[in-house]
Amino acid sequence: MAKKLMKGNEALAAAAIAAGATHFFGYPITPQSELIEYMAREMPKAGGCFLQAESEVAASYMVYGAGGAGARVITSTSSPGLALKQEGLTYMVAAQIPAVVINVSRGGPGLGNILPQQSDYFMCTRGGGNGDYYHPCFAPASVQECADLVTEAFDIADKYRMPVLILADGLIGQMMEPVEIKEATEKPIDKPWAADGGHVKRGEHNRINAMILPADGLEELNHVIQAKLKDYSENYVRYEAIDVEDADIVLVAYGTPSRACKNVLKKAKEEGLKFGLIRPISLYPFPKEAFDKINPNCKAIISVEQSCGQMIEDIRLSVLGKFPIKFFGRTGGNPIIPDAVYSYAKEVLGGKA
């Protein structure tokens, strides 16, 4: 498919259909509305099922059902909607159901506002539901990356039988950029475990179940989930690292703020300062290895987030005290202004902040 200009929300949806998604369940919420609109218009044309649920909770269990029956299924929402979907997510992890879940995040806490914000980091990377689980979480920083990550998310979900989350902030969802929607290269894999009536002999049946009463049985399931996460974490760490090997200051940012940080790097270079950038693309697993490449004499690492500081905890765990860690953030939907980051970074460099 040739490149064209699309909104991030549209690209997320178009890539899902191109990747062979056959079912979409969701409930409208800004700023992801264009995604559900695109699905409502295009999914039926592709022969798939679009269904607007009565609530986010219902949508997440429709995903559970369709995924359990072996369909390539996707749902999308924005922050407060994802909070409601958390119950379904932990059930999907327990029942080992593949699905792609998209969060085009907005301001919080509470109903907050519809402006872009990154304060769902904990909810998206730690697993907001009950029980011992994580699930993969990717954060695109461009419209092209929105499309590419959705394609990959379906394959990962199927491979590991897990929900995979994509966390895009509201601005990525709303902005237009050139994008190429690639046709799926990998064929959807066979799902002999699916409760679709086709994979078992008469008298046998596949069970999709999120409740295991015996202690040993549930412990075994937990070990299976952890083993999958370990394998996944060894294979799907994604990040972009720029000029970190000889940087005096390293900025760390994902999504929209990472783009502002690229402006900061450019300005620093023009003024002869050595700044680097680590842009996590996978938030879970967090790209710890990127921090091993940092100049040992680096003065400080600055976490730049559109939140009050959440990713900074993963940075601390990655750096383990090797470098001082600072924070620059805006919240409420206010943008990260490159000049403000640059001024702050220069203060840090001069030992004043």
Binding site: L5, I114, L115, L171, M176, P178, R259, A260
Partner: protein, 177 residues
């Protein structure tokens, strides 16, 4: 080349469309482009604005906070975004509606009587195309031909009758600067 444009006005003036036209034309000319709307809790008749960035290189921030060019279609937008123009930049004012002058003396200001010109051409909804033509001519960010091609691609079938009047507005705007 890095052009950062901010377009602002009230809902219904075709503000987002001006930005889209610049972005689509830049895209057609093989440049890197981003278009980002302000999408706060807007209401009909309320203010609307969008940011467009056009570059030969990878684009960082898509929200324009310091602009090479600003296009304002109504008075509140002039007040809000006049200071966003970088020194030496360009400010395009829809002087049909905005009767105030810019207080900046370190930028080039273009007063475009866009609404008046559009009505003169019999296209009362074409003021945005007039100011777009003025912008394209004055900044040379995108060519007028790219804009004409876009108009032809946008209005097809039953709407093909709007092609000539929109091109006329863009052309007239270009002749005003």
């Amino acid at each position: 080349m890095l052009e950062q444009v901010l377009v602002a006005g009230f809902g219904g003036q075709g503000v987002l469309r001006i930005g889209q036209m610049i972005a689509y034309a830049g895209f057609a000319e093989g440049k890197e482009v981003t278009w980002a709307p302000s999408y706060g809790p807007e209401m009909r008749g309320g203010t609307a604005n969008c940011s467009v960035v056009i570059s030969d290189e990878e684009i960082g921030a898509a929200q324009v906070l310091e602009a090479n060019s600003v296009i304002v279609m109504n008075l509140p937008s002039l007040h809000k975004f006049e200071d966003t123009v970088i020194p030496g930049g360009k400010l395009f004012i829809n002087s049909s509606i905005i009767k105030e002058k810019s207080k900046r003396d370190d930028i080039t200001v273009y007063y475009v009587d866009a609404q008046e010109k559009a009505e003169e051409l019999g296209n009362s909804r074409g003021a945005n195309m007039v100011i777009l033509g003025a912008y394209a001519k004055a900044t040379q960010t995108v060519t007028l031909e790219s804009l004409y091609d876009l108009v032809k691609q946008t209005f097809t079938g039953d709407k093909a009758k709007f092609v000539d009047s929109n091109i006329a507005c863009i052309k007239a705007g270009a002749e005003m600067v």
